[in-house]
Amino acid sequence: MKFLRFLRLPTISDLGSILKVGPTAWGIAICLGVVAVGARYVSTYPLTILISLLVFAALAYSMNFITGLTGYVSFGHVVFMGLGAYAWGGVVGTFHWSPLGSVVIGGTVGLLFALGLGAVTLRFRGVYFAIASLVTALAAGNIILAIPALGGGQGIVLNLGFEPLSQFYTIWLILAIEVGLTYWVTHGRIGYGLRAIKGDEDAAKTLGIDVTRLKLFVFGLSGLFAGAVGSVNAWTVSGVFPEAAFALLFSLLMLAMVIVGGSGTFSGPLVGAVVVYIPHTYFLTVASGAEFIVIGAMVTFIALVVPEGIVGSIRRYIPILRGILE
């Protein structure tokens, strides 16, 4: 297939260019390395905080693939998380597979659903795509509720025991792969194609960019990781519950992180995840409900005043940092 040219295996000459990545990539890699080593030495409570922060970051990178890179706003992204979580819960609950291995199943279901859904809905532009994705998520949540084999309104309750370290390394690995793929996607041929689509899709088409396949490719990646993160998220609470698995708040948080951090940038989702995670967790303990007021105000302000987000604005207004921050 012609498209597989994008996916060729790395050669020796590529290894050289992999070592020549910019300072941002090195920074993120060092952060991830420090976190990975440090996780063994911290106690359980900080570890659970770290796990949920990494879940946020992984969700932000998942959303960045579609909304950040192509500009297609996906309000219903939680559907991939929810289906991934249900696939994971079904496999773990029925066949007693290991929770770790079943995360792959969750990701695969997310990928397949994203490819199927994307083949239909990615033809719709702008708001039509946003609305189609929103109603798909709502419909999927409603359909799952009506399937007795999946526990109906009760969901799937599992008693897996508490294994924070293996959960941590699973979500760490997912995030690391996402960061690597985001770097590869934004710094190559695909990145040019995606930026062209974001700028003007019809013009991109006339330039010979295979718009449909490229969009489907990033949408599939996005669904794959959202499904995998949904499984890990279900693993941390040891069960799948319909209201929580399809809670639109997750889509909204993902979108908020991408917008706040800087959509389509390489480091933006990570910045956005930290910036959204801090008020989210702080107000959750101090004044529950206030966290979404803060996040909502932040998103509205950023969208209207600095639509490039934090990383995009820094790059725009401080030219010296342009070479360093990507």
Partner: protein
């Protein structure tokens, strides 16, 4: 096997009640449609303004004893002011001086109104708690054979259709209405005719908000105990589906779409699980977008 006549009765009830509900849905969608058609902005916080309209009716009933029909009129006036505030607070910055909606502005307004929806829903939850509240008002009911029709539902359905009809008259018979339509079709050409773009789009947005908030008050008649801060999360997607079904910018489209959706929801509940009926109602959007992206009306 259940009695065949009982099923027919249920079916008739589903259709009648679905039509009544569909009229109110049509008004909710009509509010969204006005903003979508005129300012070319899809208001993701639409559901939150429906919720505010419903709470407006609730508090007016609590403090002054108004029934929801009276409250709807006051809600509509408040809606005009809220619409102006929304236009100048959120949209004006992005729409000012634009000759057409760019994909970038589209994304900015989607995301900004989405942030607003998070903000309003959660502020409402803190202010008024997350409990379900309702308005104890009933206009009695009439019996037609075995069918009991709530009169409150009939009143709000008639009023909803009347409001859509009046907007139609406004847009086809008055000078200002024609100016707004001209603006919605071609901004530079409208400006060449001496139409002030800011005024007409702000006015159109205000009208949309007035319809939305009045619709929120009417909704409390259809669902007497259904007011809570997160009710917008259900009615906003319903409104999007209706507008797309009818075609954005088409006034009678929202009525046709609303009636369609109301009947699908209620007749679906007769034969299927209510969550499956809701899923079907939502998913009708996808084939319409594929085969008739301009809406089911020509």
């Amino acid at each position: 096997m259940p009695d065949a006549s009982a099923i027919v009765d249920q079916l008739v009830f589903g259709v009648v009640y679905g039509l009544l509900l569909g009229c109110v849905f049509a008004l909710l969608a009509h509010g969204l449609n006005l903003i979508w058609g005129i300012a070319k902005v899809v208001n993701i916080a639409h559901g939150e303004f429906i919720m505010l309209g419903a709470y407006g009716a609730f508090f007016l009933n609590l403090s002054l004893g108004f029934n929801p029909l009276q409250s709807a009129a006051i809600d509509a006036v408040i809606g005009l002011a809220v619409g102006l505030a929304f236009y100048f607070g959120v949209l004006h910055r992005e729409l000012r001086g634009k000759e057409a909606m760019t994909p970038r502005s589209e994304m900015v307004t989607l995301v900004a109104t989405f942030g607003l929806s998070l903000l309003i829903a959660n502020a409402a939850k803190i202010a008024w708690t997350g409990d379900l509240v309702g308005i104890p008002w009933s206009a009695g009911s009439v019996s037609l054979g075995s069918l009991r029709i709530p009169m409150g539902g009939v009143y709000v359905a008639i009023l909803s259709v009347a409001i859509i009809f009046l907007t139609h008259v406004f847009f086809t018979r008055t000078h200002l209405g024609l100016a707004i339509r001209a603006y919605s079709q071609d901004i530079p050409a409208a400006q060449l005719q001496g139409i002030n773009p800011t005024f007409v789009s702000a006015f159109g947005t205000s009208l949309g908000f007035a319809a939305t908030m009045a619709g929120g008050a009417f909704l409390t008649v259809m669902f007497p105990t259904g007011i809570n801060p997160y009710m917008g999360a259900l009615y906003a997607p319903i409104s999007y589906v209706i507008v797309v079904l009818g075609g954005p910018g088409k006034m009678w489209g929202s009525l046709v779409g609303g009636l369609t959706l109301g009947v699908i929801l209620h007749v679906g509940q007769v034969f299927l699980d209510s969550s499956i009926a809701a899923a079907i109602a939502f998913l009708t959007l996808i084939p319409v977008l594929i085969f008739r992206p301009e809406g089911i009306l020509r």
